[in-house]
Symmetry: C2
Subunit: 721 residues, 2 copies
């Protein structure tokens, strides 16, 4: 004290109290607290409180003790009294992880009356608060003092299980149960687990406490700072003797956390559960040397050494730690307690749909398993990047006239058709929204600066360098000079100052109508092919990046013409399909009444709409994101959480305008915000028909929508489509 | 006929009539007509009409004739009977320019009664239509037939003169006079003329007809296609024996047009006047060989040869043609008939202001001469590109810490201060809006790809190449390797995928507050310096590229802090100044009510607002502009004419939202649309306080605003600022 503050420790109790109180208030603004709030989106303006209590002592001897506990298991949700205590100790000793505490069940043997009283009190507390309680107690000379109780933090799996159990116990209603689980937490139930088969092939290094469930596979790092550096490139497992609050930035980016010391309520365990990151804690067989960056295992008499960068696999649900890179298998949301929970959520969700963004049949399959009711976005260009296709795509782009272009497109047609057929099959009975070609063409060609540099190097390149170039570009060595120049010339032609705002989306289809034509043909030929097999196909063709109705009109004409031709030929003229558009440019939103005269559906591309509405490139934002966060310019990252005030205003306006000219306009969202809970609730509120998100986020969106519905937003009448 | 259509010429008169009628209707869709409409913004849906008249013949002998004329001179506006005729000829012969026609005054000698009757009729027509008449007539065997009359097309100078004369003659009111002149046409009165002194030093090649006024200086081209190619790089003069409708695309891009044949109503003359391009027609001393690409002059016995690429200077007001590159001098709008006309316009304009975009004192001076009532946009970065400053700017950018950055900024401070002082002096009593630094920093550094290529070339470069690089970068040869790598590293750091949407505008000032601080200091130190000399200084500091109120708040705080400090020190705390913002990002417009709680003025940056609202990069749009024009996606080029439906909707919304929280909010526009008549009228209509445009367009904006005011838009009450 003297050393840190320059003043002696005060001897007056009142002064001590005042200083202690102020220290707590000041802690609101320390770096760790600020970081925590930022991570959990807690407003800085909320403030904190100080509770003043009489001091009791758990360290007065063998009749004194201290402990912490939960009325149910916060990791699994199991209805079991759960906690830890130490005899002759103070609270700090339990959470610090220095002495390994005893399981709370031992208390019954050590201090039976105290244990009985504790059970009674905590059971009452749970009934009173109608939620799991996280409590702290101290026993001073045989007398039990409750220090604190609060609703207990829990993992996603625990949250779901507790909610379902409490409904079954008659403690809460189904509505309450659905509202009890933070949709983000579901993520923990949807993540992969270690493949049991793979486990058998790997060396089991140790078994610690199952502190936070889920599988984690990554490379070993020993410091939080190193975790941040490496995590940008590869998955990492943060390995520490024990974690401290200053490690929080490293814990946040790690795939998993492993500690050799501490219990289920140690810092590592509590924080990892809060973040939904798998964690094995207190694996005592391990010796962590953070200075040397070594992890030593003293198992079964053998000594094993892992260094920074070695692969490690954790199972946070069992506490197992394996050397090596285990395979993982996907979670199955269609069974068990989660299934029950999601069924309740879906009842409340009503007609509000949840679709998935999926480009290939495999993703579509996952999406269905996670409850997706259709595909809200299939990005056709993702198919073009495949190795067997990129050459045809490049030939198409390098073509100097329509005839050559059509020839290359003709080669892509059967491939696209097969892709679409696969999607339609998976989505039997559900709609599939297919977007026509969107990205700038230069994305399919080598990078301009690489070509320039290679052309500059070529005259002085040795045989090895030339061979490398030849392989890179797929051009014979002898033709490098000529062909690289040709390639560069075209790349220069296509070079753009602001590709985001350049030749892409429907602009491509307007410049080269034959691309749209080929894609429409692939779609409808696939429709015919799959429908003939008895599958119910509901195709929705989506035109990207329009700024007004004229562009949609232009592209729709092509699609309708091809559809008519293909369907008539197959005798399927009655097959229903929709042609609609992305709303991802402010002007399209502003003129949505006109756009809807042609569009049969809108799908908000909120990634691009955020970029254009905020004048903010997602890729370039990273450069000043830190400064913007420090200056508190945005409440959240606008690319993660929809900016309801600005972008949302445009979205709401567009929904209203669109429905003003087409009452049954189908409206959805396919930007990444479609899987973010607060954004999903916004979409529900403004009267959209569905959200679409990545397959793994489908249950999150389903829950968020159900919560919006329960919270009293009655916009159901608007969704008449 | 047989050859072209495969059918013989029909002998039935009715059939001939039907076919002729249809041919006229069909002409609506020929390429020339389409091009003409596009150029003049005439909707394709308008359609055309066919007039059927009894045929009369001007070619029945010496008592027959045909001619065309205007009731006033369509080139100068002079009140003088004006026209041409040919005896024993048909109408085509006059306009085709094959026979050189006689001046209409000659008709009085050849056919006195016909001349008298023609004067009576045309005078009556002018009185009836209250406008200049452009008429055609034929004399058949001594009898006068009027074929056609219409309001005459005229040059800008003629339009102004005729409007003023007609008011003085009591024919029309001042309001009508102001409405009679197309604001775009004023451009012709504001363009430079050939410097009389320069004329004396150049060889006068020939004198043709003064077919369209104004000075033109450029390099000779002989075909319309070549004109298009060359005009992208340099000013060109299109030289033809005579022009034909197929030349229209070349005429459009030429600075001036010169023909050796044809009269004042020849194709070249009529079209050039319509376009406001200087033209000398029928310069018979010249011989144009379009195949050989040579212009031969047979003047004063000497023979002179000009080839493609040689410089040529024209005076379209006198008909003079000079070899070489003449100096030009600026037009003076503050004298003569234009002065009277603009004074009338300004009366009707009321309190709606017109400011100019000007970065340096010289431009500010021009702006004042053209009637600008302040500076609406001073781009401070333009000052940084000057040769003596760019080094300090680069040092600032390359700085790795705040201290080094501040040192470099300190060197820029006195330069900025001097620039601002100059502007304030010129604008004595008028507001000066100064925008803080806007462009991405990499614009001040060498290009990334050049650095990459030069670094790749360096190891194999010979002494000459190295010297060249050394000069290019200002780096000694010995340090090239190291310094280029350093430079490239920083350029890479600053490299952006979409610079338009990246680190620029207020984002720079938020990342590097010391830049805003320096600029604020330069502004207010200049204010103090100039105000002390008795000049009335009205500074308005403008923060660019905000997306919401938070960014403005952040930057405003810095500006206000510096202003307070500087003004207090000078004992000028009472000096009034404003801090406001550009509205150039959709989100700023959408949240304008909040923005206005901090902003004391809005200035719409419609260049960027158009780019973001339409998701359209101005630079990249050129790549598909042709396809968009052909597909009729936009009515006009949205970067020339404000897109009122989309961008305009946002502008209108922002004005209303802004005034809802700050009643006296000053609102203007500083995008290039601020000088485009239909956009100016829009700005007037939505209740802006002023427009700001390039100095030369100030009179155009003044007139457009006056016309909006006369046309009954009474939004005056909204402009309370």
């Amino acid at each position: 004290m003297q050393k840190k503050t320059g003043k002696p420790f005060p001897q007056d109790a009142r002064e001590q109290l005042t200083m202690a109180r102020d220290a707590v208030f000041r802690s609101w603004n320390n770096d760790r607290a600020i970081h925590y709030r930022k991570m959990n989106q807690i407003p800085d303006s909320l403030g904190t409180a100080v509770n003043v209590q009489t001091m009791v002592f758990g360290n007065l001897g063998e009749t004194s003790a201290t402990g912490v506990g939960f009325t149910r298991n916060p990791s699994t949700g199991e209805k079991a009294f759960y906690g830890e205590f130490l005899v002759n100790a103070q609270g700090e000793d339990v959470v610090a992880g220095i002495r390994t505490p005893l399981d709370i069940s031992e208390l019954e043997k050590v201090m039976p009356p105290v244990y009985k009283q504790l059970r009674e009190i905590t059971t009452n507390l749970e009934k009173h608060y109608r939620d799991v309680q996280d409590f702290e107690f101290t026993v001073q000379d045989g007398k039990l003092y409750m220090l604190q109780t609060r609703n207990g933090k829990r993992t996603g799996p625990a949250a779901v299980r507790i909610a379902v159990d409490m409904v079954n116990e008659g403690l809460i209603s189904k509505e309450e149960a659905v509202l009890r689980v933070d949709p983000q937490q579901l993520d923990q139930l949807l993540h992969p687990v270690l493949d049991p088969a793979a486990k058998k092939t790997l060396a089991l290094l140790a078994k610690g406490l199952p502190a936070s469930p889920g599988a984690a596979v990554g490379r070993v790092v020993f410091t939080a700072d190193e975790a941040v550096v490496q995590a940008a490139k590869q998955p990492v497992i943060l390995v520490r003797a024990e974690t401290v609050p200053d490690d929080i930035h490293g814990m946040e980016v790690a795939k998993g956390i492993l500690t050799s010391r501490g219990g289920m309520t140690s810092h590592a365990a509590v924080v990892a559960r809060g973040m939904g990151i798998p964690c094995v804690a207190g694996a005592g067989d391990l010796e962590v040397n953070e200075r040397k960056k070594e992890l030593t295992v003293n198992s079964k008499g053998k000594k094993l050494l892992l260094k920074e960068g070695d692969w490690l696999s954790l199972d946070g649900s069992t506490g197992e730690v394996f050397a090596g890179q285990a395979r993982t298998i996907d979670a199955d949301p269609s069974s068990g307690v989660l299934k029950t929970f999601m069924e309740w959520a879906d009842t409340f969700r009503g007609s509000f749909g949840v679709r998935a963004n999926a480009d290939i049949p495999r993703d579509a399959k996952v999406a269905r398993r996670f409850g997706a009711e259709g595909i809200g976005l299939c990005r056709t260009e993702h198919m073009f990047f495949a190795e067997d296709r990129i050459a045809h795509m490049q030939a198409m782009i390098l073509a100097h006239d329509e005839k050559t272009r059509r020839k290359a497109l003709q080669k892509l047609l059967p491939m696209q058709r097969a892709d679409f057929a696969g999607l339609f099959k998976e989505m039997d009975g559900f709609p599939v929204v297919i977007r026509t070609l969107d990205p700038p063409l230069h994305e399919f060609l080598p990078k301009r600066e690489n070509l320039m540099v290679d052309l500059a190097r070529l005259p002085h390149a040795d045989a090895k360098a030339k061979k490398e170039m030849s392989q890179n570009y797929g051009i014979p060595v002898g033709q490098l000079k000529k062909e690289l120049a040709v390639l560069l010339a075209r790349v220069e032609e296509l070079h753009e100052f602001n590709p985001m705002l350049g030749l892409r989306g429907c602009r491509l289809g307007i410049m080269y109508p034959e691309i749209t034509e080929m894609q429409a043909r692939a779609i409808f030929e696939a429709v015919v092919q799959v429908a003939k097999k008895g599958v119910k196909v509901i195709p929705e063709v989506m035109i990207p990046l329009i700024g007004g109705v004229q562009e949609l009109e232009n592209q729709k004409k092509i699609v309708v013409q091809v559809a008519k031709e293909v369907l008539e030929k197959a005798g399927m003229s009655n097959l229903k399909y929709l042609v609609g558009t992305m709303i991802e440019i402010p002007r399209a939103a502003l003129t949505a009444d006109k756009v809807a005269t042609e569009a049969e559906f809108f799908s908000f591309g909120t990634n691009d709409l955020t970029q254009t509405t905020m004048g903010l490139s997602r890729d370039d934002y990273t450069k000043f994101q830190k400064d913007y966060e420090n200056a508190k310019i945005f409440k959240n990252d606008p690319f993660a959480v929809l900016d309801q005030e600005g972008v949302g205003k445009l979205v709401e306006m567009a929904v209203k305008l669109g429905r003003s000219t087409r009452k049954d306009l189908e409206v959805g969202i396919c930007g990444e915000h479609g899987g973010e809970p607060s954004s999903v609730q916004f979409c529900y509120r403004v009267g959209m028909n569905y959200v679409s998100c990545s397959p793994y986020r489908v249950p999150i969106a389903r829950l968020a929508a159900a919560q919006a519905a329960i919270s009293g937003d009655k916009t159901e009448t608007m969704r008449t489509a």
